[in-house]
Symmetry: C2
Subunit: 330 residues, 2 copies
C-alpha cells in the first residue's frame, strides 16, 4: 500500500460515516492512526447503524447531523485534512417516489458541502462517492469513464449533479476533489434490511433466514461486484495520490457474473438457501439497465488499484460477519 | 410552416412567459389563435418585463408566480395542451455567486413542474428550453448532441439536471417532452440592462447609448447566434411534431462569427458606436469556453428547422425595436 503512513494523526471527516462503506473506511483509518470524525443523519431508510462502528466507538468522534444542515457542517469541516464524502440516498426506487429528498441530499447538500469547503477549508482533499448508475443502460461493455451519461432514474440525475459540482469546484476554485464511480459494493455492514443499497443486501438476509429470495427476469443479467475492503482501498489511494486531482475513476471487476451465478454462489457459501425467478415488477422494469460491468483501467493505470477479493471469498466473509451480528441489522 | 393550424383554440402555458423568448413565443401563439397563459416570477435580475407583452396584453392571461411555488403551478397546469417551459436563471456569473438559487430554479423547480404534470396533466406536451452551456468547452466543432457534457459553471450543471428530468419523465412515465439546447439568442425583448442573458444585451445597449462596450480577450472567439423568431419557430415545430418526443435538439447557426465581427456588424447597423478589448476578468476567464458553434443537423432532419434570419438583418431589427422602446428596458 502506498498510503500506509499518510493518515497518521491526520484529521479525517467522513459524511455518511455510520453507513456501510463509511464505517468500513473509518475502521481502516483508525487502524492507520487517523483522527476520525463521522457525520451521519441516521435516516432510517439509509445505511447508518451504530453496530457498524462498534469496534472503533471509543476511538472516533461521532456527530449526528444531516449534510443538509449547513451550519454544523461549516463548523465540522474546519481543520480537516481529508473529507470522504459518502453521504447519499442510494435507493433508485425511493428516488422515484420521493424525488425531492433525493435532490436535497444528493445534489443540493453536495453544493453546500463544497461551498463550505471553499469558504472554510479550501485545502481539504475530498473524495466523493459517485455511482455507475449515472451511465444508465450501457451502450457498450465494459463501461469506461467516457461512456455517455444517460441516467435512468432521478437518483442517477441528482448524483450526476452532485458529482459535477465536485469537478467544477476543482476546475474553478482549485479544491482538490476526486470522484469514484462505484458499482455494486458488498461486504460486512451492508444494509440487509431491504434492497435499498443493493439487491444483494436482501438476498443475503433472506438466504440466511432460509427464506426464498427473488431474481427479476431470467437472471442472465451480468453484474460486477466489489468487496468493501477493495473499495476502501480505492478511497485511500485516491485521497493520497497527486495524480487523482479532478479525476473521475470507475471501480469495477473484470469478472462480471450473472444474477443466476450470484445466487448460486451465495447459496453454496451459505450452505443453504433457495431462490426463484419472477417477471420484473413494472417500477423496477422502468429503471432496469440490463447487463453492466465497468472498465477500471484508468484507476489501475493512475493509482495501481484493482479488486483483490473475488466474489466467492467476499460473500463468505460477509456471511461470517452476519452470522455473528445479524440481530443489529434486521 | 407545419404548425400554422395546430394551436388554434389550444391552451398553452408558458413559464418565464414575460421573459425574452417567452414573450416572443406568446406573441406568435396569440397570432395563431392559442389561449395563452403566462407565468413569470418577475425576479428583477431575470428577463420578465411587462413591456415585452404590451402588444398582446388584452389577449392573454397573466399569472405572476414563481415556478418554485408548486401549488399554484399544479392548479395552472390543468387542462393545458402545451407547456413551453422557459423559466430559468440564465446568468453564468450569478450561478457562481448564488448557486442555491440557481439550483432551486433550474433543477428543483423543473422536477416539481414535471411531478405536477405527471399527477395532474400527463398528456400535456412539454418543450423545455435548455442551453448549449451544458457542453462546456468544446472538444470539437461544430458541437453536436453527442458531444460530452462537461459544464463549466453551476448554471450548466443545474440546467443539465433540469434537462435530464425532462428526458427521464418521458422515458419512465411517457410524458411527451422535447429538449431544445439554445445557443446565443438575440432580438427584440432581449434583456439589455446587463449581460445576464447574453453579452449581446449589454453591447446593444451601450452601442445605442454611444458608450464604448468591451470585448474580453482578443475578440477572435467564434459564436453562433439565433434570431428570436427562428427560436420561436423551433419551439413551435418541436411542440407539434410526432417525431420530437424524448428528443434533444441543438439549435445553432452554420455561419459562426467572431466577437470582433459581431461588434463590427453591430456598430455598422447602429451607424455608430465604439468598443475596446480588455483582458478577461478572472471570474469570466474561469468559466469561458473559447470558440463555440452548434451542429443543428438533427433538428433540420427531424423537423425541417434551420435559421432563416442572418445576423446583420437580425441585429438591424433588434436595434429598430430598441430605438422605439429603450426606456422600458434600462
Amino acid at each position: 500500500m502506498l498510503y500506509e503512513m499518510s493518515f497518521k494523526n491526520k484529521n479525517v471527516l467522513i459524511t455518511g460515516g455510520l453507513g456501510f462503506i463509511g464505517s468500513n473506511l473509518a475502521i481502516k483509518l483508525v487502524e492507520l492512526g487517523a483522527k476520525v470524525t463521522l457525520i451521519d443523519s441516521m435516516i432510517p431508510e439509509y445505511g447508518g447503524n451504530l453496530e457498524n462502528i462498534a469496534v472503533i466507538k471509543e476511538k472516533i468522534t461521532l456527530n449526528f447531523s444531516d449534510v443538509r444542515d449547513d451550519y454544523s457542517f461549516k463548523f465540522l469541516i474546519k481543520n480537516q485534512d481529508y473529507l470522504f464524502n459518502l453521504a447519499g440516498q442510494t435507493s433508485h426506487l425511493d428516488s422515484m417516489t420521493n424525488p425531492f429528498q433525493d435532490l436535497e441530499i444528493n445534489a443540493k447538500s453536495q453544493l453546500s458541502i463544497l461551498e463550505a469547503c471553499r469558504k472554510h477549508n479550501p485545502n481539504v482533499k475530498i473524495v466523493f462517492a459517485s455511482t455507475r448508475q449515472l451511465y444508465g443502460k450501457p451502450q457498450y461493455l465494459p463501461v469506461d469513464e467516457s461512456h455517455p451519461i444517460i441516467p435512468v432514474d432521478v437518483n442517477g440525475i441528482n448524483k450526476m449533479a452532485g458529482e459535477s459540482y465536485h469537478l467544477l469546484y476543482n476546475a474553478v476554485y482549485g479544491i482538490n476533489t476526486t470522484v469514484l464511480r462505484l458499482t455494486n459494493t458488498y461486504g460486512p455492514r451492508l444494509r440487509v434490511k431491504d434492497a435499498r443499497q443493493t439487491f444483494l443486501g436482501i438476498w443475503i438476509r433472506k438466504c440466511m433466514e432460509n427464506q426464498p429470495f427473488l431474481i427479476y427476469g431470467d437472471g442472465k443479467q451480468l453484474r460486477d461486484y466489489n468487496f468493501v475492503d477493495d473499495v476502501v482501498d480505492a478511497f485511500l489511494l485516491a485521497a493520497t495520490s497527486q495524480k487523482s486531482q479532478g479525476q473521475i475513476y470507475n471501480l469495477g471487476d473484470s469478472n462480471p457474473i450473472s444474477l443466476n451465478t450470484t445466487a448460486a454462489i451465495l447459496v453454496e457459501e451459505n450452505k443453504g438457501g433457495t431462490y426463484s425467478h419472477i417477471p420484473f415488477p413494472q417500477d423496477r422494469k422502468n429503471i432496469d439497465i440490463g447487463d453492466f460491468y465497468g472498465d477500471f483501467k484508468k484507476i489501475h493505470d493512475h493509482l495501481g488499484w484493482y479488486p483483490k477479493v473475488n466474489f466467492r471469498k467476499g460473500i463468505s466473509e460477509t456471511l461470517a460477519y452476519y452470522r455473528s451480528n445479524i440481530q443489529a441489522y434486521i
